[in-house]
Symmetry: C2
DNA sequence: CGCCGTAATATGGTATGCCTAATAACAAGT
DNA sequence: ACTTGTTATTAGGCATACCATATTACGGCG
């Protein structure tokens, strides 16, 4: 085993499991058996258990006594709660970005916006969606508030799947693109209030979308 | 060993360590040696390591490769960042509480307020301070947003020490009590905007206090 | 006398094994 | 045939033993 590892094995395992949740290899509700999963990853149970602890703290898996940990399967209500908090975190991030971001950082955010415009007609939903997420993260990151960045990231990972489904099903990306256009504009104008307001509105829109989607697909758990 | 434990040993260890941080038995910067601490607690290294993982995710300890984990020692800037996020979390919690709290819950919050009034002249700083914390937590809890409650709790535990120091040194509790009076009033009026505004202002005040205190005691790390 | 290299020790990271408890399956009795 | 009890298997929780690495101290060489 190459000991190039400059970080703990548990962290890398957590990364792998997180990635598997994003790709859908690990779906909500799936159990994560210790021995099985550890063997599949070629590691022992100890670091796997530690990885589970990390993911549990992030709200991505849920554990119960004498039960295999399972991939978190948030209810519609949970998702709305998460999104509401996320909306406020991003609004704060936007405010801070207006005050503290360097011109280079804002330029970088515009770059992401432009890539979204370019790919907004692509059939490749994943690429577009990832850029969308990166756009939002970049705004919060530009605010420079470390705890906020980290918390926002965690909420994002818990919301990833729901927002991805929302992004896929939403027939028109028109509203999304218009919102983003407003966001980058108010950000470049360094108008903190406007940026916060539009980010909040954008996330509230996401709540509405997800509600609509999950209510319609409520009893069709995809395989 | 009595197997009355309905929760994991790691969780209980994390609770113990958290408590020791609050009482000051574990001060910021202190290393937590695995073998030593495990033996002191009468447990093996495995659950202790898992407890460290939990506390690390909460931001209460920091780990580095091949180094003993150390109790987090946030800089003044870190504390300001944390408090800024906390202010917004509480503002959101207050808004939600206005919309969703039951009359009984608001009555319970008033009870806490009244206990603060009663004990506001006591020399017992800890009792007063704990009631203060409980007051804020109860407001957020009344909002009913689970992720928000949990995140707010985590930020609180990271801020506990700083806010406690602020509470001790602050000569007059006048402003605090006036703020709290306003908070409970707007909460009972279910005025979401006013509640959010005053909570935000109250926390901003805390930022100012802590800044003043830490700047004056910057180079006197208490033993 | 000082600096560098090597060795020893201490500490965190990982693997493995045992223990306990929960669940499921099978058998026996009603 | 159904229900209940017992047993076996599975799986998670904890402890321990081993490994790799980093740091420090000591000794030798310049």
């Amino acid at each position: 085993m190459p000991s190039l590892s400059r970080q703990r094995l548990a962290d890398r395992i957590a990364d792998i499991l997180r990635a598997q949740m994003l790709t859908g290899a690990l779906k909500p509700g799936y159990p994560i058996h210790e021995r099985e999963t550890a063997e599949a990853l070629g590691v022992s149970r100890t670091p796997l258990r530690e990885a589970i602890l990390i993911l549990e703290a992030e709200g991505l898996v849920e554990t119960a006594p004498a039960r295999s940990p399972i991939v978190a399967d948030p209810s519609l209500e949970d998702l709305c709660d998460l999104l509401l908090v996320q909306a406020n975190l991003e609004a704060l991030g936007g405010e801070l970005a207006c005050a503290k971001a360097s011109d280079a950082e804002i330029a970088g955010i515009r770059k992401l916006y432009e890539r979204m415009v370019e790919t907004s007609e692509d059939p490749d939903t994943v690429g577009f969606f990832k850029t969308d997420m990166a756009f939002h993260c970049a705004i919060v990151a530009a605010g420079g508030n470390q705890p906020l960045i980290k918390t926002h990231l965690q909420y994002n990972s818990r919301l990833w799947r729901a927002r991805y489904m929302s992004s896929r099903s939403r027939t028109g990306r028109g509203q999304t693109m218009r919102d983003h256009s407003e966001i980058i504009r108010s950000l470049e104008a360094r108008d903190a209030e406007a940026t916060a307001a539009v980010l909040r509105r954008h996330l509230f829109q996401a709540i509405a979308n997800i509600t609509r989607i999950l209510e319609s697909e409520e009893q069709s758990p995809l395989p």
